[in-house]
Symmetry: C2
Subunit: 325 residues, 2 copies
């Protein structure tokens, strides 16, 4: 097979994060499910925003974070996702290109504004996500650049793409294009509630299309509706070639065929904000995989990237990740 | 005199900061004057933005930072300044109101976008400011709420207001309104190059109108075109009732009549980003002054607020300042 120009092509919702620290009782009084991602509409976003403390804005989006982190590790990434031609869209686009990611999905010139995620960070470092999808609903199959996908070792899809209907179509088109070109497909399960919304479809998609699955413990247990991590790991072993499963402070487990590789988490002096932890892990793992590393080393690289990201506020690295590996 | 509803009414440019870390040689290759504020037009802003690394966005503006910090200290502040009715304007407005500042200047519905300041932070924590004034040029005398000024113990004006011509008119109107109501006027000199642009006017204004002057060492030396801090301090002593003069790591000096009070700087384990340090000092000083504290205590409060702000990225406090005093 021809060499690939890109290590990873990420496809996901193009989102600017609005990050604020809140006390736990704010989540309770707003009826928010701590640690989860909930979708909100424009009015709900405005109402919630009016209630939160001063915030900072930083580019986010799950797969976008992953390809940004991959670039920070020294990898070559591309991203497909839809913003509006507005100020937040400019910010999203700037930050991705500035870190070295190829990004050329045309911005929507009408319709909803660029997507925002109100990220509420509690004292324990946990983040609760409230996403207004905005212009992401305009991302569709026509935005999938099959040429770039054919030129990428791995096409990485975020599960959140199932939420905007046209994006879901794009998701399948991208997976087909990757396999038609003899490339690999990776999926992130994104969120246990997202898994809940699309469990059967995710399972079918994984069996048929996914070469590398990224998920955390809650997500993989939700996928198979089991209470035990080991049970879930053994179920995914039968259905997917490589599964990189994160377990928070307990590190991660890579399940591939008959092999199971457990790697301890990197030490972090203080967990400030877990936003983007899973995205960073996926970046490290895929960077390793596309650079010929074994699964243990891939997991270690994922852990290093995640440790950097959770040690400060915001989803993307403050320190160039390639200096840490 | 009647009690005042507000401790401080701040008037200034309404700006959203775009903060990025850059190496020193980036400043050199772009011909930027390290540590200073330079004005740039829309095209220059776009060009510079395209060259900087990934950034975060956070509300800024000198006087706006000061009233935000004052609110964080437990004081009651109001702000007047102009944004456009765009996404960055919404961010600016949200962050000011969310911290407890009264803010009701109507957003411009046409004309330039909300002002942005590209803040380039080098490894030593120094910040270099590149300001596109945008909608700030639409702030004029009609935006000065003389009722609020009459109801504020101190009206605080940033020297940067001299840059947009209509804002300068508003500046004089505000000072007149404050004194007509028997209130005090405070001025920040903002930047040594700003002082250079308007030296004679600043000197005349200070002599006639300013009760409390806030300046750093470079600014006060620039104002009087002298090389010695002590000479500058003795010159301002003759022209202004109270002058709070900051000297970076050496702390601050308050000059008032025949008295000179020097207060050491608060200890900071690492200076991460000096953006907003002077604004925070002014907030602490004015909080003390409007709460009956002596000048040494006012300077100490200023030092505490500045120390918090320079210990992290971004101009506004991450920790509620009232918990630190």
């Amino acid at each position: 097979m021809a060499d690939a120009k890109y290590d990873v092509a990420g496809i996901g919702n193009a989102i600017v994060d609005v990050l604020a620290n809140v006390p736990d009782d704010f989540l309770q009084s707003e009826g928010l499910n701590k640690g989860a991602m909930q979708l909100i509409d424009a009015d709900q976003a405005e109402t919630l925003y009016s209630k939160i403390p001063p915030a900072i804005e930083a580019s986010g989006g799950s797969a976008a974070n992953t390809v940004a982190d991959l670039a920070s590790l020294g990898g070559v990434g591309s991203f497909m996702g839809k913003v509006r031609d507005d100020q937040l869209g400019d910010i999203f686009s700037h930050d991705l290109k500035a870190i070295g990611v190829q990004y050329s999905t045309p911005a929507a010139t009408s319709g909803p504004a660029t997507a925002r995620c109100i990220v509420l960070v509690t004292n324990d470092g946990e983040r609760t996500l409230n996403t207004y999808l905005g212009a992401c609903v305009a991302f569709g199959p026509d935005d999938v650049d099959t040429g770039i996908i054919a030129d990428s070792q791995v096409t990485y899809l975020e599960g959140y793409l199932f939420d905007p209907p046209a994006a879901k179509e794009a998701f399948f088109k991208a997976a087909d294009a990757a396999h038609a070109a003899g490339r690999q497909v990776s999926l992130s399960l994104s969120d246990p509630f997202c898994v809940d919304r699309y469990r059967d479809e995710f399972r079918a998609f994984i069996k048929e299309h996914v070469d590398v699955l990224c998920a955390n413990e809650d997500e993989i247990k939700s996928l198979y509706q089991v209470d035990s991590f080991d049970d879930a790991a053994n179920m995914v072993r039968e259905e997917c070639g490589i599964s990189a499963l994160t377990r928070g402070a307990e590190g991660s487990v890579v399940v591939a065929g008959s092999a199971t590789v457990a790697v301890a988490a990197e030490k972090v002096s203080k967990v400030v904000d877990t936003t983007g932890a899973g995205d960073a892990y996926a970046a490290g793992f895929l960077f390793g995989l596309t650079h010929g590393k074994d699964h243990a080393e891939c997991a270690r690289l994922g852990g290093i990237a995640a440790a950097e990201v959770i040690s400060h506020f915001g989803a993307r690295p403050e320190t160039e990740l390639k200096t840490l590996i």
